[in-house]
Every structure is written in C-alpha cells, then in structure tokens.
Amino acid sequence: MLSFVLTPVSASAQTVLERLPNGRPDLSGNWTIAASISDISANIVRVDGKPVAGEERVIPYTPVYAQLRAEADSRMFEEPELHCYMSGVPSHLWRQAYSGAGLVIQHTEELVVFLHEFQGSRRIVSLTRREHIPADVRLFMGDGLGRWEGDTLVIETRNNNAMTWLDTVGNRHSDQLVVTERFTPVGNDRYEYEATFVDPAAYTASWTIAAPMTRGGDRNAEILEFACVEGNTDHLHYTEDVGGTSIAAPSRAPGADAANPSN
C-alpha cells in the first residue's frame, strides 16, 4: 500500500518493541491518537489512493451523502452523542477524554480490546477469527478482525450500523462501510495510525486518514464510568431551540437496511 505520510522503516530494527509471547508487538496501555474530533477530513492523507493536502482534503461523498452532510447543522438532534450512542469505528478511538485515561488497549495473543471513556465505547477485536459475522448483524462498533503484516496490526471492520457519525460536525457513512485500520510501530510508544474508508453508498472513492498515536507512561490511569443514559439532559440544548420537549429518534440513513431493526 502506498504510504505518503512516512515510510515505516521496520521499527523493530531500530527500537526494542514490547512484544507478546508470540513475538507480535504489544499495544497494551493508555494511548492518545491525535485525530480531529470535530472534522475528520482534517486528517485525510489520501483519496482514491492518491496523496492529498490542504484544500484537497475532502471526503468524496456521493450526492445523497453530500446532501446529508450539508444538512447536518440543521439536524443536530440526530447527533449520536446526544443519544448516548457508542461513537463507532474508528472515531471512538480519539473522542473526548475527561479523566486521566482516554483510550485503553488490552492486548492478548487472541484479542485486542479498545476501551474509551467517552460513552464507555468498547470494541473487542479477534486476532484469530477469519470470517466476519453474517452481514445483516450490524453493530455500533462493527465486527473487527485483526491480522498481522509484519509488525503492523491490520484490522478490517465490517457490520457497522449507520447510526454513528465520524465526528461532531456530522460526517457520515452508511451501513456498507468497511474500515481498514493499520497500526504501525515507529517506536515502542509511538505508532502511526491509518484508517481507510470504503463505502459504495456514501463515497465515490476510498479515502484514508492518518494520525500519530502515542502511548502514555501511566499504565494505571483508569477509565471512569460514563453514565450517559442515566443522566442525559443534553437534549434540552436542542429541543429548546426547536420549541419541543422531546427529541425524535434519528432518521434512517439512506441505503440503510430498512428491515433491520438494529440499524
């Protein structure tokens, strides 16, 4: 795969990496991924496989999804955070961190578990399973399968529902989204993170974001409970604007499987 941000010279040649007993790099610990919460397009490095910069960092929406994106400002009552939804793949990895811990990774030879304080988002990724679950089982956090390409962890996530946004400004995806993430070590506590988005309903071409990923020193930083449903009065900010006392459920994204009640 073309890599424009950096050429990941085999980090293991230069740095001693923490490794699992099976020899794979060990990503256990507390991490920060420096990607934009507010607008994911700021982190775009490639569109359709070609390097882009500056004004070229634009999500290649289909007309229907370009319209959805344009309408986001007037549809903030659909914002997933307002509804206490888990943030979805991949943006749950870098959402707001209120206590000392943001993203915590538990890593074993069989699993990578991503835990984030915001919304208590949680993604359990198998490193041994090879088949995705049936396509009509859709999840907020998708079905991620991990594999190794040398020292690079590659995770392909399918089975995403269409109810999550990619950021707070309202960039969207459909339930046909496939996200391929790459975690490449450039030092023991510094990885390069990439995610490539393919979604024939929402995008006319693939697009890729990149961000540096840093491991913190405190392995005991603890994620606190995020009680969103239990204490949610955030909807008032929105309902007062439109004169209502209750918020509507989000409308279904175009292209979503209407027969699937969990989407």
Binding site: M86, Q106, G120, E222, E225
Partner: protein, 262 residues
C-alpha cells in the same frame, strides 16, 4: 472514624464466615503469563431467575420461579433494616422506576447475574469484565491501594479495588449510586454507605463461583451474601455482541428513553 472505615469495621465484627466448599479448595486453576489465576473467557449465569428476584419466589407472568441466591442469611431473605424494607416496598409498588426499564447500568452485583454474557480479559495490572448489556465494562485494578475518596462518587457499577487471595480474585467495591436495584422486583442497595466485597473462585476449569457480601448499616441489619455460578461459554464462535437498549427503544418506540427532566 470515616463512614468507610466504620463500614469496614462493621464487616469485620459481624460477617459470618461461609463454609468454603470442598470443590473450591481442591481445584487449582491455570495461571496466565502474569502469574495470575486465569479467569479469561466468556461467562454467564445459567439461571435467569435472580435477575427478576434474588429472593425465593414463585413464578408470575414473564417471571420464572427461583429459589434465590441469598445464601446468608440461611432463610434466603435480605436482612433489611426497617428503612431498607420500606424502600423495597416502595420500589415494588412502582416498578416503572426500575432503572433497568430505562436501560440504566444495572449496578454491582446485579451486572454479574444478568441474562447476558460477559467477557473477562486480563492484563498485567487489571482485568476487565465486559457485559453484553449496554456495553457495561468494569475495570478491576490489582495494584490500586484504595478507593476514590470517601464515597462522593455515585457510580452505578461502583469503583473496584481488586487483589488475589490465593487462587481467588477478591474485590472491594465502593462509591455507589443510591438507586441501584438488585433485581427487577425492587430489592435495592447503593449510596455512600454501601460496600460490596466480591470473591471469584474457579471451582473447575469452566465454572466460577461468585460471591458478593453487601454491607450497609443504613439498609441492612447485618452483612449478607449472595452466591451464584458463572459458566463458561464453550461454543468457539461465541462472542460478545451488543445490546444497546436505549438505541433500540428509540427505534422501536419512537421517542427516546430519557430520564425525567428536572
């Protein structure tokens, strides 16, 4: 003496020691690469009845009968104080207030006997217990020396301080929200005076004996203990999926499930 120290003194003074079963003493569990007894796997209680009522109860519409999981006192009844019992009866008369109907976190120990699977993953300094229900996740650190403050935090699932006692995992859980229901029938616990001590013991390779002792001088006349069993899921394809209760309620019912607006 702080509230918490008083609560602990109360435990020491009054808690009767449950007889350890022979099986729990005989089995030697496998240890992981960190030298810890290995609790990893996907687990679930077999019996849905305690989720409805942890005391002995007959069947009713939608509710299977159960003999209860309260093992001490021996009569299987929660030793409420008068105030604690009054609140239980208030809850029972107003089941619409059940936090579970609003998709809230179930609290500890209720989380452990929900009719949903949970997965345990162990790291060097902590383990996580991850329930399929509303992505509830508990962190249990082994090297944290004490709780956060003196009960000021109102956490639904509490804050857990863990340690290994031989082959058992023992936790001390504190900082609880005041409105936890222990089941769907209004039995309750919670607030800054509640302490839950849990003990996880592998009695064979595929069964965790789970005990929790609840101590709270305001709600309970003495500490009391539940005991149930978590069984390992053996289907290699089994995995934790999602039950995002509040989201499905929005889709199925239209208006979202939200708490009363003050």
């Amino acid at each position: 003496m702080s509230i918490r120290a008083a609560a602990l003194a109360f435990v020491v003074a009054v808690t009767p020691v449950l007889a350890e079963s022979a099986a729990a003493q005989e089995f030697t569990p496998a240890r992981n690469r960190h030298g810890q007894p290995d609790f990893e796997g996907i687990w679930q209680v077999l019996d849905p009845a305690p989720h409805f009522n942890i005391e002995p109860h007959g069947a009713s519409y939608g509710v299977p009968a159960g003999l209860g999981i309260v093992k001490d006192p021996a009569d299987g009844r929660i030793p409420y104080t008068a105030a604690g019992l009054a609140r239980r009866e208030t809850n029972r008369a107003n089941r619409a207030a059940d936090p579970f109907t609003r998709c809230y976190k179930p609290g500890v120990p209720h989380l452990m006997y929900l009719p949903f699977p949970l997965q345990i993953v162990q790291s060097e300094n902590f383990l996580t217990i991850m329930s399929e229900y509303m992505h509830n996740t508990r962190f249990i650190f082994f090297n944290r020396s004490d709780h956060f403050g003196e009960g000021e935090l109102d956490l639904w699932n509490g804050d857990s301080v863990g340690r290994f006692d031989g082959d058992s995992l023992v936790t001390d859980v504190f900082n609880f929200h005041p409105d936890i229901w222990l089941d769907r029938s209004g039995n309750h616990a919670g607030g800054p005076t509640l302490t839950v001590e849990e003990r996880f013991t592998l009695i064979d390779a595929d069964t965790i004996q789970y005990r929790a002792t609840l101590t709270d001088a305001e709600d309970f006349a003495r500490p009391w203990t539940i005991e149930t069993y978590l069984h390992r899921h053996k289907d290699p394809a089994k995995q934790i999926l999602e039950y995002e209760c509040h989201a499905y309620a929005e889709n199925a019912l239209g208006p979202p499930v939200l708490p009363d607006v003050p």
